[in-house]
């Protein structure tokens, strides 16, 4: 009986020592800087209107903007990095803007976070500006991104100005659909080009069937 007990204790110790335990690395992220949040001009409760280019139908979008802070993981308020199970973010922030309409066509979602700080904390010499991106989704298939306001990188098409419904919009990004990984036929249906500037937000969209919806301001 004694021998069995010793054997059990020894095997227990063996199991405990055989499994390496690594304490998680916790990175406390600084809040998303206000200057970057200005990349999205909308405030919670705003509205804006897009007009169908040919039949002039007006489509009103309502804006919901909110800051999502601290995801919970195993009872702790740390955001777990998906690609490294031993690193957690504290104070992970997501600035989310949803522009929704009752018209059954498409909605927008604009999103940015303070994850870019990871590059500044790490020893990586990689250019951390690449993480400073605002991502935009429109409808079922459209996904694109652009640099934060005040950050310059990448090869983007920017129009100096654009005339839309009697108003001039300056420094307008012409953003193409960058979604990939969809294997189904029809993945390229819907919004294909999105026009955006930091001052006014969404200036217009062009659909796969050629129809356009452009900003309308009275």
């Amino acid at each position: 009986m004694k021998k069995l007990l010793i054997l059990l204790i020894l095997s227990g110790l063996f199991v405990l020592t055989a499994c390496p335990h690594k304490d998680p690395t916790i990175i406390n992220l600084e809040p998303l800087e206000e200057k970057y949040r200005e990349s999205v001009p909308y405030q919670d409760g705003d509205t804006f209107v897009l007009q169908h280019e040919t039949n002039k139908t007006l489509i009103e979008f309502k804006v919901w903007r909110y800051l999502q802070v601290d995801n919970v993981y195993e009872g702790e308020t740390y955001y777990r990095m998906q690609y490294d199970p031993h690193i957690y973010y504290e104070n992970y922030q997501q600035d989310i803007t949803e522009c929704r309409t009752d018209y059954p066509l498409f909605n927008f979602k604009l999103q940015m976070d303070n994850e870019y700080r990871i590059h500044e904390y790490s020893d990586s010499t990689a250019d951390n500006s690449h993480a400073k991106t605002l991502s935009i989704c429109a409808g079922n298939n459209f996904y694109t991104w652009l640099p934060f306001k005040g950050v310059t990188f990448g090869d983007y098409v920017m129009l100096d100005s654009m005339q839309v419904n009697g108003r001039t919009y300056y420094d307008v990004f012409e953003l193409k659909n960058q979604s990939y990984g969809y294997e189904y036929e029809g993945a390229n249906d819907g919004v294909q080009v999105l026009y955006y500037n930091y001052e006014n937000g969404i200036v217009g969209v062009e659909m796969s069937n050629g129809e356009k919806f452009m900003r309308y301001e009275e």
Partner: protein, 208 residues
């Protein structure tokens, strides 16, 4: 003790010998005609303001749901229920359309989803639709009653479609979600040909 073991072994042998051959329960070919044909899978819908959008349906996928009964570790009955499904989607994230059949020996379970409204019922070849006729909003637990009727034909945009199912929510006034489908016309081989969302927008399939 020895006799007990012997009886047990005899029981196992008996069960093994009684094992029914594997049975496949298939979705009837008639029902499969409600899927969207390969030539009709990419189409345009148009609303009352003349705004167009595209709908696309995937290929039909089928699978088998295995079901077995066993006693003392010996399988004596083994069935495979065929499951067939097809998905479609439009511009909006929640515009997915899904038709799904699962065949059982007594009836086929039908699951139909459109703009996140989920309709499910059992279909029996002889008695037709049976079971509770309720649809639920995929965003919550709200349940709505609906009627379902079969039409020999229905005309949309100058084209006549044969074999059409007409689904209508009984009390659409209580629906607040702007993309909830309150009325759907669904044609055999073509899928949704005309539908209304939240009693506001009528959309129809554009005839080629």
């Amino acid at each position: 003790m020895k006799s007990k073991v012997l009886y047990f072994m005899l029981l196992v042998i008996l069960l093994a010998s009684c094992r029914k051959p594997k049975e496949e329960i298939l979705v009837s070919e008639d029902l499969k005609e409600w899927f969207v044909d390969s030539g009709n899978r990419h189409f345009e819908v148009c609303d009352e303001n003349g705004i167009h959008q595209t709908f696309h349906f995937d290929d039909i996928e089928n699978d088998f749901l295995e079901n077995s009964s066993s006693l003392f570790g010996v399988t004596y009955e083994f069935t495979e229920h065929e499951q067939c499904g097809q998905k479609g989607r439009g511009f909006l994230e929640d515009s997915q359309c899904q038709l799904h059949f699962t065949a059982y020996s007594d009836a086929t379970h039908v699951f139909f989803e459109f703009y996140n409204a989920q309709f499910s019922f059992n279909y029996n070849e002889s008695s037709g639709i049976e079971g509770t006729m309720k649809c639920s909003d995929g965003y919550g637990d709200a349940l709505y009653g609906y009627t379902i009727e079969r039409l020999d034909s229905y005309e949309v945009d100058g084209k006549t479609y044969r074999d059409v199912i007409h689904i209508k929510v009984v009390d659409p006034d209580c629906i607040t979600r702007p993309t909830f489908p309150t009325e759907i016309y669904y044609a055999k081989h073509y899928g949704p040909i005309r539908y209304q969302l939240a009693r506001q927008h009528w959309l129809h399939r554009v005839a080629e």
